[in-house]
């Protein structure tokens, strides 16, 4: 355009073809600056809020050292970790066979399974938990003195509320399904399993020695996302009235706001660190394969 017509003998245009992009650097740095301030200021301010010593001035780490001994913390955090591990196990056990079978044997079911696993992402968890409450209310209303009621009451044991595990598995399904599906598509599972089957391996053996190792990063990813989801989940636990890590943070804030902010900051940064670690491991593995 600016260079005018180029003759048949000329080799390269005088100006870069994508001249329009020269100005694009400016808006990009604008975006980085505005969003950088927006995302970093609350984080920095929270850290400052927790380490500044209000009585004597100066800096203190006291709110952080107080976390482990804070009233109710160990119990609530331990319970959340336990709920998270149970959720991971059940979610993987339910979703992994479906993902593998849909890929290898039942491609017809793909759309159905995809739609079902999208539902928990779109439907409000609070509506789900209102429904769950209604179902649980059947125990005293309709099934009193039957094994069904006993079972439903057992699900609501405050020490280890299995009902939360059951609901969290549903909430985690979108993430677990998509993490595993991406892994299955990337691993060339059909070829691998056919080779194993031709060599005479049984299906259980194929699952254990071929499918699981091929999917280990996506399994790790799915497990990590599920743990993060359970450790942060507030709505369901709050409505059903159970004490977990996030509900404890909110309760503790009443008496000690600094402590709650410290726990919040710490949990965000630790989760981020873990996720960075996993993504680094993932990359190293890919480079090993390449």
């Amino acid at each position: 355009m600016t260079g005018g017509m180029t003759g048949a003998g000329s080799v390269a245009p005088e100006t870069p073809v994508r001249a329009g992009r020269r100005g694009s650097g400016r808006w990009r740095w604008g975006v980085f600056a505005v969003l950088g301030v927006y995302f970093l200021v609350p984080l920095g301010a929270s850290i400052w809020y927790t380490i500044r010593d209000r009585r004597e001035g100066g800096i203190t780490l006291e709110p952080y050292t107080r976390i482990p001994g804070a009233e109710g913390f160990a119990e609530a955090f331990g319970r959340s970790l336990l709920l998270a591990s149970l959720t991971v196990v059940i979610a993987l056990a339910l979703v992994l066979p479906v993902v593998v079978l849909v890929e290898l044997r039942l491609p017809r079911l793909r759309t159905t399974v995809e739609l079902i696993t999208l539902l928990p992402l779109m439907l409000p968890p609070i509506a789900l938990v209102v429904g769950v409450r209604s179902v649980l209310a059947w125990a005293p209303d309709h099934f009193l003195d039957t094994p069904v009621a006993e079972f439903m009451f057992a699900l609501q044991e405050p020490e280890l509320p299995w009902i939360l595990v059951l609901v969290y598995v549903v909430l985690a399904m979108p993430f677990v399904y998509r993490a595993l599906d991406a892994g299955v598509r990337g691993a060339g599972l059909r070829t691998l399993t056919e080779a194993a089957r031709n060599l005479g391996a049984s299906w259980p053996r194929v699952m254990l020695w071929v499918v699981l190792p091929a999917l280990r990063t996506s399994l790790l990813n799915a497990a990590f996302l599920t743990v993060a989801l359970v450790l942060g989940e507030f709505t369901v636990a709050n409505i059903l009235g159970f004490q977990t890590f996030p509900t404890w943070i909110v309760t503790a804030a009443g008496a000690e706001p600094q402590l709650s902010v410290a726990v919040s900051v710490l949990s965000l940064l630790l989760t981020w660190g873990l996720l960075l670690l996993i993504s680094a491991l993932d990359r190293r593995r890919r480079e090993d394969l390449a």
Binding site: P42, V95, A127, G131, T235, S267, L268
Partner: protein
């Protein structure tokens, strides 16, 4: 196939059964005098008026505004990261941070903002002491929107980055070689290809903002009209007879609204496909 059976049974019992029960029991009422139970559309009629109606309006407005803002800003951030050359570290930092903020839940975010611009927040005291600024309060719709964007923008980045990566550089080069301007490229090539995923992601942001409860509960208690807070209130009230059923009707209303949004999305998607073909 036997291996998929546990999955379908589980989904039927823990996902479909509760929503089915919700859809039925929203039409149950308990007589406040005789405690007789019966069928009625009273609950459904009540959710459109008074405090419930205001809560729906508040939630819809907040979610629509934050979804659009989150989508625009998230898209801008995603494009900016992908355009940065040698930005692999930056990309990994932003994507993992987005994963944490979008999935970890609203409680820690609420407290981060409380510490920043809450009534005793660091930035609040900085501004009031040095500049004498006052007037903005975190405990309002605007304040909530500001916090919601903190997880909606990352959610947009996570959902739209794969779609942007699928946009081939060759298309841009082909358009450039044919003499298209940047605007023409986005109008006739990039825009039409990106429109369906961007719209889908915006719907997801809307649903996520509409369903948000933790942030609002931790920040404002129940002083702001939002459906989720209204539902929690009606469930935890032991005073009013039939409040539980009103909660079910409110929850059913949320499901219907999300359903309508999805139907609209499917309709737009189909039209877009016809137009592209």
């Amino acid at each position: 196939m036997l291996g998929t059976l546990p999955f379908f049974v589980y989904v039927a019992v823990v996902l479909f059964l509760p929503f089915g029960v919700l859809a039925v029991e929203a039409f149950r009422v308990t007589d406040p005098v005789t405690f007789d139970e019966g069928w009625s559309t009273d609950n459904i009629a009540r959710i459109t008026e008074g405090a419930s109606g205001r809560a729906y309006l508040g939630s819809l407005r907040l979610s629509a505004v934050t979804a659009v803002l989150g989508a625009v800003l998230g898209l801008a951030l995603s494009v900016a990261i992908l355009r940065t050359r040698r930005g692999r570290l930056l990309r990994r930092l932003v994507l993992t941070a987005s994963g944490v903020l979008a999935n970890f839940g609203g409680v820690p975010l609420a407290f981060a903002f409380l510490a920043t611009i809450g009534s005793a927040g660091v930035v609040t005291s900085l501004l009031t002491e040095t500049l004498g600024l006052e007037g903005f309060t975190l405990y309002s719709m605007t304040g909530l929107g500001l916090v919601y964007l903190y997880f909606l923008i990352p959610l947009m980045v996570l959902t739209i980055t794969p779609a942007l990566e699928a946009l081939r550089p060759q298309w841009r080069e082909a358009a450039d070689n044919l003499g298209a301007s940047g605007w023409q490229y986005w109008r006739y090539v990039g825009g039409p290809v990106l429109a369906p995923p961007v719209l889908g992601a915006t719907m997801l942001l809307f649903a996520s903002s509409f369903a948000a409860y933790a942030t609002a509960k931790a920040l404002v208690g129940s002083s702001v009209p939002l459906v989720t807070l209204q539902i929690a209130d009606s469930l935890q009230s032991n005073v009013v007879v039939g409040a539980e059923n009103l909660g079910k009707a409110l929850a059913l209303g949320m499901v219907v609204i999300v359903g309508l949004v999805l139907v609209f999305y499917a309709w737009v998607q189909r039209r877009a496909q016809r137009w592209l073909a």
